[in-house]
């Protein structure tokens, strides 16, 4: 398992509440802005999408790539972050 970033650790440590979408691992300013423009302005909205895609890795990755142009690493980071958060809190 690859090492997780500080951002990842911070995110999965507590309920996400009203955290912005840029708090997600793998989502920086650029991607965050693109997601916000599409209406995904909070982390929990992306969480909603993640759940609607049944937490499936491939589907979520494809969706992320199509929606904000995330590359493979960013997709993986975001997926891992959300998955772990769900495992802990959902």
């Amino acid at each position: 398992m690859s090492s997780t970033s500080q951002k990842h650790k911070d995110f999965v440590a507590e309920p996400m509440g009203e955290k912005p979408v840029m708090a997600l691992a793998g989502i920086g300013e650029v991607l965050g802005k693109r997601l916000e423009d599409k209406g995904f302005d909070k982390a929990y909205v992306v969480l909603g999408q993640f759940l609607v895609l049944k937490k499936d890795e491939e589907l979520f990755r494809d969706w992320l790539k199509d929606t904000c142009g995330a590359n493979v690493k960013q997709q993986g980071d975001c997926y891992g972050c959300l998955k772990e958060w769900c495992d802990a809190f959902l």
Binding site: K54, L59, D66
Partner: protein, 188 residues
Amino acid sequence: MSSLSNKSAQEISDLLDEYGIKHGPVVETTRNLYEKKLKEAMAKGKRAKPSPDKTYYREEEEEVTYVYRTPTRSEGSGDSGAYVRSRPEWNEKDYQHETSYSSYSKSKPEYSRSNYGNEPDMYDTPSTYRSTYAKSPPMKSGQDVPDAPKSSRLIPLWLQFVFFLAVAAFLYLVFSTMETNEPLKGIK
């Protein structure tokens, strides 16, 4: 074919199931993604409605021809025959490529292993692998079993046969030159 965006969510969902694409509910935010996936699947020409009869028939045909071919081409086709057996669910396309690749790649290590002319060994190893092809007749028996002309191979059958004979002839040459012991005795 009506455009995907005109279809209802239920229809999209049904289409995804037909193509065997795993999916969640088709809602506003997921619709785009699923439409894209369907377009890709259609472009690839995947079997939307699987026709089991057709594939089954093809498989049988494949197996039959490989059984015939084993005597003439020993380990080459024998291996690909085993491949056929173990993976009956593959597409025909994948089939052809995979079997020709496997027969090609497998024949090479076999040749290198049987270094200098232990030709019977070459047959024993594959035959122990698969008891179905236990009868491994000698290579030079030249059984011209009617090869079902499957011209959809990557490398044509006759070429493989020629290659096989060429390597066999080479090995025979090498073997024959090694037999002369007399010069050694002379030196002694």
